[in-house]
Symmetry: C2
Subunit: 241 residues, 2 copies
């Protein structure tokens, strides 16, 4: 394929920049590495029927009751009042989640997902499903935005690293004319031999490490622990296919 015929691959570093991108002509990958999109692929990989992402705790409680579903979400590092589970991927073992629906409320990731609702397709990505994401994007042959959920609209290291890892893997199939993509790939290349070590500098690492969540962080930064592709259809995330 000539360079011009290749679809575009772009990176959006923050939801506050998404309006600069023409999402309706793109597949959007929602990236919230610590920990929403890591937990979503883990729950689906372990047999959850679907994951319903919602913005508020109240909505989570209400939909959970209506569907008899598992409700989950944290605020300030604690399971939110009225919900039963937290954001850790380790809470969603096969024994616990198989054949169940998970209603999950997160702040940054859910916000971005709803902002991207006009996209051709929305999928979620994190290191535990990086190969599934990359295989899917290459196969579609459509323009892609790698959308970082960030932290309260500030660009963060972990989502940028994942975006950079994807750029690094699939760029020869795409036209990359986006400085944020070049930057993300550069940050990833610098750190790829020790992503965990690099991440110890990150603001969110410090926040989570204070809660004793280093094991979560290691899992969320490791490739292919839950290698399925969550795709967003009719308000629900299900395994693509």
């Amino acid at each position: 394929m000539t360079e011009q015929a290749k679809p575009s691959l772009e990176v959006c570093l923050s939801p506050a920049l998404l309006h600069l991108y023409d999402v309706k002509n793109y597949i959007v990958v929602i990236i919230d590495v610590l920990r929403a999109t890591s937990t979503i692929c883990t729950a689906l990989h372990n047999g959850a029927t679907k994951v319903i992402p919602v913005s508020s705790v109240a909505e989570c409680v209400s939909i959970g009751k209506q569907l008899g579903a598992i409700t989950a979400g944290e605020r300030d590092g604690m399971i939110a009042e009225g919900l039963l589970n937290g954001n850790s991927p380790f809470e969603y073992s096969r024994e616990f989640i198989q054949d169940k629906t998970l209603v999950l409320t997160t702040t940054n990731g859910t916000k971005l997902l709803h902002m991207a609702k006009d996209a051709i397709q929305i999928v979620t990505g994190s290191f535990p499903n990086i190969s599934a994401v990359c295989d899917y994007l290459v196969a579609q042959k459509l323009p892609v935005i790698l959308g970082c959920a960030a932290w309260k609209d500030r660009a963060n290291l972990e989502d940028t690293l994942f975006a950079g890892a994807v750029v690094s893997r699939i760029k020869e199939h795409f036209s990359v004319n986006c400085d944020s993509a070049i930057m993300a790939e550069s940050v990833f290349n610098t750190s790829k031999d020790d992503i965990f070590g690099f991440m110890t500098q990150a603001s969110h690492f410090k926040r989570l490490a204070n809660y004793g969540l280093e094991k979560d962080i290691r899992y969320c930064l490791s490739p292919d622990g839950a290698n399925v592709l969550p795709i967003f259809r009719n308000g629900e995330l299900v395994i693509a296919g």
Copy 2:
């Protein structure tokens, strides 16, 4: 100084993210490497009395007439209609600019400068004055935002590289708890042995190279060619001191 006592050093990758930063408690460095802030320090270094940054071509014409000043600015790579000069630092030799006032209209840089008007202090930075910027910031012992002018609100490589170069030079005097700063430094560290080569990937490089401006780009990426500190006072940029 203990880590906690050090002032904060943060990087803002786009004007569209500046609202996330509490500018009134910070020194803001306006960064528009290609080419506004490179040209500003060059003009001042070569003896310009002051540089007045304005948003619109009409304002540039009107203030220029009022002050009998040199008017300059480009739109889409051409000298804007009604103005006499362009954005290239090479237009502002000592012979041409000494003891004159330059009224300069640029889009990205001027916009950010006006958005940061409540800051403790506003200075401008680019590679040609990087040492002056770093010496000043270290001496002030105040919190700093390195503000990238970006390109139509999209993060760009050249401004991020400069922010990263500053972080790399002065970080031991500051507390760096900002993922964008860590990312910028990482991108700079990857490319510092061949910044020009790295920049050939950038979207703005391609735009300017099409206009035959590689010489400009090399100058704008080289340290200390015009090592003075432009500081913003009463709507004008003058040499600090």
